[in-house]
């Protein structure tokens, strides 16, 4: 994987392109790099919320454990995708799915609590961050609806 500095990675990412310099610096301050070899369990379902991640390179699978059935992969994510967003929007203060790297993966990690606090201090930043997060949640909702529809299910309505 290419070795870019955190500053360069953030500036190249569409998430931060619209930020003014003070807001960008606030994000940079709470960001860190995270890398995982393929197969790494990044966090486990039930663990306390801590970080939100923005994938730079690689693939991450989100799994949910189903009693008596084992783990089911509900979604895979790749470059540009966000996971762990409940760290910023804590409905429950624990991870509701496990995340594992299915390929060598690099991401930018943000401390969820620090991000909430930064958004509270600067509502312009907060508007930007939450607008982005709303898009992420909306896309997940759309994807979940389509999965629920089971759109490949075959009826016997044809010839």
């Amino acid at each position: 994987m290419v070795d870019n500095t955190l500053d360069e990675l953030l500036r190249a990412n569409p998430w931060f392109a619209a930020l003014g310099e003070p807001q960008f610096e606030a994000m940079l301050e709470i960001a860190s790099m995270a890398t995982w070899p393929a197969g790494t369990l990044i966090f486990r379902e039930g663990e306390p919320n801590q970080n939100i991640y923005l994938i730079c390179e690689g693939h991450v699978a989100l799994d949910i454990s189903i009693p008596m059935r084992g783990r089911a992969t509900i979604l895979t994510l790749s470059d540009g995708d966000v996971f762990g967003w409940s760290a910023v929007l804590p409905i429950v203060n624990i991870k509701t799915a496990s995340a594992r790297a299915t390929h060598d993966t690099r991401a930018i990690a943000f401390d969820g609590i620090a991000m909430q606090e930064a958004c509270e201090r600067d509502h312009e930043l907060g508007y930007h961050v939450f607008r982005r997060l709303t898009n992420v949640v909306a896309a997940r909702l759309t994807a979940t609806r389509m999965q629920l529809l089971d759109m490949y299910a075959t009826g016997l309505e044809g010839d």
């Binding site: 699978a61 992969t73 509900i74 994807a143 389509m146 999965q147 759109m151 490949y152 009826g155």
Partner: protein, 290 residues
């Protein structure tokens, strides 16, 4: 098959009547995924077999006497039309009867009918194929076309969705397609940990693409709800709806625009379709009655 053979004797070798089928023998049956198989058909009339040609995206009406007809897209290479393939999912009476046929049995074939994927118009552009389930079958002739003419196209991406890994159509061809500088990204709606590919609905794969809206054409075929969201994702990336093409399926009966069973808004899908641009159908796409 004696009945079909006797019927065959009364059919002219080459007919211009679009309602008359030509008889073809099943040369090979290949199981694909649960409930889906590909049938290789060989026209019995050598002159007709030699003259037969089709365009990518067109369909044939397959006929079984006493049972009925069904519209099935052609799934083979348009440049080798004598190797005529149809990938069929068992869905109703006719396809259930086809499933019971064996190699050597005969099927009546009318066609080819309908509009085609505009592969010539898209020459020089990047192409994104988006398939869901059996929807990869009507797209495969266009994929074969761009492979044969690879240098004439820009970046080519195939997004292939299925319900589960077991339902992924033509997966054994993906590596061969990749050898032609084509990115193939399969995804499934549900999987266990043994699946190493993507999980998630196929329109969401657009999030990992950065298409150039000035130079990208999208061909999509699959469940209609999937194609709707594919069109939305393309529109969100500023790809003009005139360059997003869908293949629609309705109750095709005559296949020549006479009977009106396949009417969709102002169009007869058997004649003006099945391949239409999203711009053509957008006014009707969310009308429940259609």
């Amino acid at each position: 098959m004696a009945t079909k053979q006797s019927t065959l004797q009364h059919i002219p070798t080459i007919s211009l009547d679009p309602m008359l089928p030509h008889w073809a023998a099943i040369a090979k049956i290949q199981d694909e995924t649960p409930g889906v198989a590909t049938y290789a058909l060989e026209f019995q009339d050598l002159a007709f077999r030699t003259a037969y040609s089709f365009l990518p995206g067109q369909f044939n009406m397959l006929y079984l006497p006493g049972i009925g007809e069904v519209a099935i897209s052609i799934s083979s290479d348009p440049e080798t039309p004598h190797e005529l393939l149809h990938t069929i999912r068992v869905a109703g009476n006719v396809t259930q009867a086809i499933e019971r046929l064996k190699v050597g049995d005969q099927i009546g074939v009318r066609g080819p009918y309908g509009s085609a994927w505009p592969v010539e118009v898209a020459r020089g552009e990047d192409l994104i194929f988006v398939a869901g389930g059996i929807g990869l079958a009507p797209l495969r002739p266009a994929i074969y076309h761009v492979i044969r003419h690879r240098a004439e196209y820009g970046k080519i991406t195939i997004l292939a969705g299925a319900r589960s890994p077991e339902d992924m159509l033509y997966h054994d061809e993906f590596d061969a397609w990749r050898e032609h500088d084509i990115e193939v990204i399969p995804t499934v709606d549900r999987a266990d940990e043994s699946w190493q590919g993507r999980v998630g609905v196929v329109p969401m794969l657009f999030y990992s693409l950065r298409p150039d809206p000035r130079n990208t054409t999208v061909f999509t075929c699959g469940p209609e709800i999937m194609m709707r969201f594919v069109a939305y994702e393309a529109m969100a990336r500023r790809i003009p709806t005139e360059r997003v093409f869908v293949s629609l399926e309705r109750n095709m009966k005559c296949a020549v625009g006479f009977c009106g069973h396949c009417q969709y808004g102002p169009t007869f899908l058997c004649k003006e379709g099945p391949v239409l641009s999203f711009a053509q159908i957008e006014p009707f796409y969310n009308v429940e009655e259609f």
